[in-house]
Symmetry: D2
Subunit: 373 residues, 4 copies
């Protein structure tokens, strides 16, 4: 079990989907950051179930309480403990599944590893576990913006075979084009910043729900305002830590940065990003590197993708076995998201914020790292 | 700077491409493992330059010396220090580049971060840095096989737009099909286990060299014999640590596991891996999960991909700027690989071995983890 | 700020003396340990204020709630979060002190470091912070005993100049003599296992309270049932980690193990512990080593001391300065312990348990470490 | 095995007493520190055997080579690898002991833990292991002085029952009295800054050697120029990390800071250090705290003691058993120090420097920590 991450900005999360509560302890957040419950609640509200027609009908309030680390509206430099109590978990929904290994869930592997599991839901493998990360990430994001002017923005790029059209992708990726705003992304339940695509995605998700099936997709995450110098080669290259953060999310199966997998089909003469001196600053004219060279940020936008599989909880009938090895058929009832992508947007932002806050502190230790130009 | 990785099986690497030497200290390797210099040398010989017509004409012997941790052919449980001296580094090749930022190299970011860099090559960002990892990985791989029967096999799946044909990919991925052998993979300089494809790749690389250009590609890595129970949710899920290990390699831009990015376009009903009880063991009938569920190995083959960009050292002329910000043109002479993929095969295997050895020890601590069925 | 400790059995604590609550997250506790709230509450009751005439008249219930990690009376292998809410903190007592640096408290250093402090008590420097450690330590202690038969027993050896008499010390230290029982130690408020000495200590503490002064003292901690092989040289020698654990407690100024400072005045020929083969086991005939040789346990009793200074909160008038640097006089009113020693007994036991649980898991990873003979 | 220490300024050591070599990798040393081989060699020369009449007649050159991390006389910010080759190890001396457990050595515990040991000396438990720490510590000390003006000075305070006289101790401890200089301390082989005491110690050591016996003693270590704000409560309080560093040294059995064990017999009204505003700075008028309050430096001198047992290698006959459990008598011949104290002085300084360099970097990350007044 590894419930902590980070070297200087460290987060420890806790909580099962059906236990008394979930949360996080944030250790190493610098002192004197203005912080209120509302800063954290806003992020949790973006991830909570039941927000709109696309997500699960479970309506969980997920109200956070700050237990320590803040006095008079300012952080003290001491650990900030955050608690969200579980309410209205319908544990009875899970009773029929207690003896069955749900396919592509963590039931079997949890039992193989620990010899025990909480049969009332996914335990720590549940997406509810990300509550602690989102709450902690809200603090990291606030500090990154306040201290370094760093801004993180994620959105849905594709669901199943519905993807942002090529020309929209190109426009979004144009050098120094404005990032989609939070309002633009949250304007539709699909969290895709292009309305026609968002509507097609919404239709696809509704159809999957009706069919008792589920869908995967891809999230794009972009970070602006990162100064040159973040990243700790060789093992903690910035892209290595981002990949670890993203791949530690439930249902995530892939990560790439900059040109990514497409870059593997390019020639060096196309892929290299030429340097120029622009507005008094060293810049590159293209950004196939995704803002990272040699594992260290170069001041350009950091841009990466995260691929998510279709969630495994589906109403359609499936083959499996019981704990005793007896073949059986199952159909997962209950209130499950047919597609995790829209709700995963704030989660990807949160783990990105945690990763970058830690790297900022590490860079500052080493080199007296300063706010970007 | 982060030069160490792992929690219990820990590796620290050191060395610049043009300094006195490079190497690693392996701490936490269990005692009484038979270990000889030749075990490590064999792995280094697979990564060294000048092996064959496809790689750089630099012919570096890269001979390793064991400085500590082994007595009478057995590990002592104490740190194993490994040293490879640099010989014949042609530092003069780099003199013309000392004042220029090479595009998509780490020159600019290193200087931005540290205020200094070794101008005689890429320093720690050089692929020579992986010597330490390959040497350490050889020890991890030996222990994994001896102690747990775990076997790691990587090969080139594509270079530029030449990819293993669909039917070959399907054959390789068939459930319980034999892994390609080391001999099959090393039978051709491209390290691709399908001769016709290997020959096409070799041709493509030769053409890129002639054109003064470079090529990227994709490596597949597969692991057999992993027992259920490896992986430490939530932050150290097995796929998260593998992604971190792979993305910390020079030139790597992407990672996916199991269905990966392709899985994002599937439905849950297709993607879920049904359980069955086969030969007295819990198995899945498909393996879209890539051997991992909920961040923990499930006993199936672990299978992932790593995408590498084309190496940035090309002879073709490029635009850049000097350290003073003056635009300039450059053409990188010297003895560079036009395609890093074949030599990256043992490197990917090494970081995979290091990651799994650490997870094995961690699992053993927790649960008295045992060798697979 | 460093609020986590341990490599495999990891504890993160949180909470200020006057915030909403305090607690801990225990990560890495093995699965399937029987655990109830009462196991933890019992330890907290031993450290809580207001237990008896010797301690502060503050009567804090300090009731713990288990927020996660336990299902049906067994640990799940997931993080165990523990919460104790603050009640009845009389923050107003501190108002007059908000602008004054209390001598030998952490007021000045906290402000120098963080630029902010919670003026309502000692914040994280308060002894209330140890609530999280005692709660977590109760889990560690239960696991150590259940899994390895390891038993930890601390008691007060001296307060001010009242010390256990030489012959009592010799009797307690005699090879294989029974440890004082918990009942014997808790039989008197001084937590000293020799009634006449306990009564003298009680008198001394009562007199100090009456005089508005405070007293220091020494705690002895002894551990039985430790198998040979715990400790991770060179940096995490068992005595090094015990020293770190003990010196991280508020008011602790010294640590020694085995012969300790007295051993510095001995000759090698007196100090060396001869080996013998006793009852089929390798034993030593004396134990100047304190159960540790070369940083690794040798199977003998581990025995160490912790020295505590007199607590700095005294009613007697003192000189100090305000935050503005103006000389001032202060007298600390409020409900403070005149001597922390009796309540520190369960705290020393707790940090010892946390240290040893972590080392047990680490030893098990390395060498398949087993329960003692 | 734990061969690494530190969070940001990290050191990994390697090497057995009779293997090919010993050394260290220093990771995280800031870039652009002027560093030459001679800086490190000077520290090694202070710890090496055979310096003078008091130490072992083994004359080991212990020449260090810098393998990486330095270019053109400046650190690169990359890992600095240091190697000292073993020469002239008389392994044959140990042949008669291969089957015997030497009393109070690590022979038995090493074998109990690892199932194997290098019989040619103490392996990693040998004092030769400290070569890596001293070499690494020299870099830390140089950086601390260059960057923060911090100066570390240790000396022998007592050997066996010969201690600095009370009035000398008082003079040395007087507020703001000058530290003994390196020249004063190294003026005599005993490394005690009071010539008459040094001469008595030298006599005592000579007599112990003649008698085939050994002696323990106490080292005092003092640190000047530490700014307020170093130390990371709660677990990495500055005194906790110093205690861990010191207790991880071979033969060390105790640590105390400030008033230490003596403070346990004081009253709060005597022990508290009153604040005053002196020369524009917050100071204390006494320093029973030893420069630390609440685990954080307060700007006063940091002063602590380390107790060392008599070394266990003695020529006098001793009782022990063989590996097979047969009682036997042994007498350890060979070239051993009868008293480790004088050579431990630079070792204590080294681990202190490593601890403080790490805490400086951590403080800088958190709070933009600056050089002292």
């Amino acid at each position: 079990m590894s419930s902590s991450t980070g070297t200087l900005f460290r987060v420890t999360t806790f909580g099962e989907s059906h236990g008394p509560g979930l949360g996080a302890v944030v250790d190493g957040c610098p002192a004197r950051l203005p912080l209120a419950q509302a800063d954290i609640q806003a992020a949790l509200d973006r991830r909570r179930p039941g927000q709109n027609a696309l997500s699960t009908p479970r309506n969980e309030a997920d109200t956070v309480e700050i237990l320590s680390g803040v006095f008079d509206g300012l952080t003290l430099g001491t650990p900030i403990a955050l608690l969200v109590r579980n309410h209205g978990q319908r544990s009875a929904d899970y009773a029929p599944l207690a003896e069955i290994y749900r396919p592509s869930h963590a039931d079997y592997t949890t039992e193989a590893k620990y010899g025990i599991r909480d049969p009332r839901g996914g335990g720590r493998a549940s997406a509810r576990e990300t509550i602690g990360r989102v709450a902690a990430g809200a603090i990291a994001a606030k500090w990154l913006f306040a201290d370094a002017g760093i801004e993180i923005r994620a959105y849905v790029e594709s669901v199943h075979d519905v993807c942002l059209p090529r020309e929209i992708l190109a426009g979004l990726a144009a050098p120094d084009a404005p990032l989609p705003t939070l309002a633009q992304i949250d304007a539709n339940p699909a969290r895709c910043p292009h309305t026609p695509t968002a509507e097609r995605i919404a239709g696809r998700i509704a159809a999957a729900r009706a069919a008792g099936d589920s869908l995967g997709g891809v999230i794009r995450c972009r970070v602006r305002g990162v100064p040159p110098g973040l990243g700790e080669p060789v093992f903690d290259r910035i892209e290595a830590l981002l990949a670890k953060a993203v791949l530690s999310l439930p249902a995530c199966k892939g990560f790439d940065i900059g040109s990514g997998f497409a870059g593997a089909t390019m020639r060096g003469s196309e892929h290299n990003d030429p340097f120029e001196f622009r507005d008094g600053v060293v810049r590159t004219t293209t950004n196939h590197s995704g803002g990272v060279q040699g594992g260290i940020s170069n001041g350009e936008e950091i841009s990466f993708r995260a691929a998510f599989k279709p969630v495994p909880s589906i109403a359609l009938s499936q083959q499996s076995i019981t704990r005793a090895g007896i073949p059986t058929e199952l159909s997962i009832q209950g209130r499950h998201d047919p597609c995790v992508l829209p709700r995963a947007v704030p989660i990807v932002e949160a783990v990105t914020a945690l990763t970058l806050a830690d790297l900022c502190l590490r860079a500052r230790a080493e080199t007296g790292f300063q706010r970007k130009r």
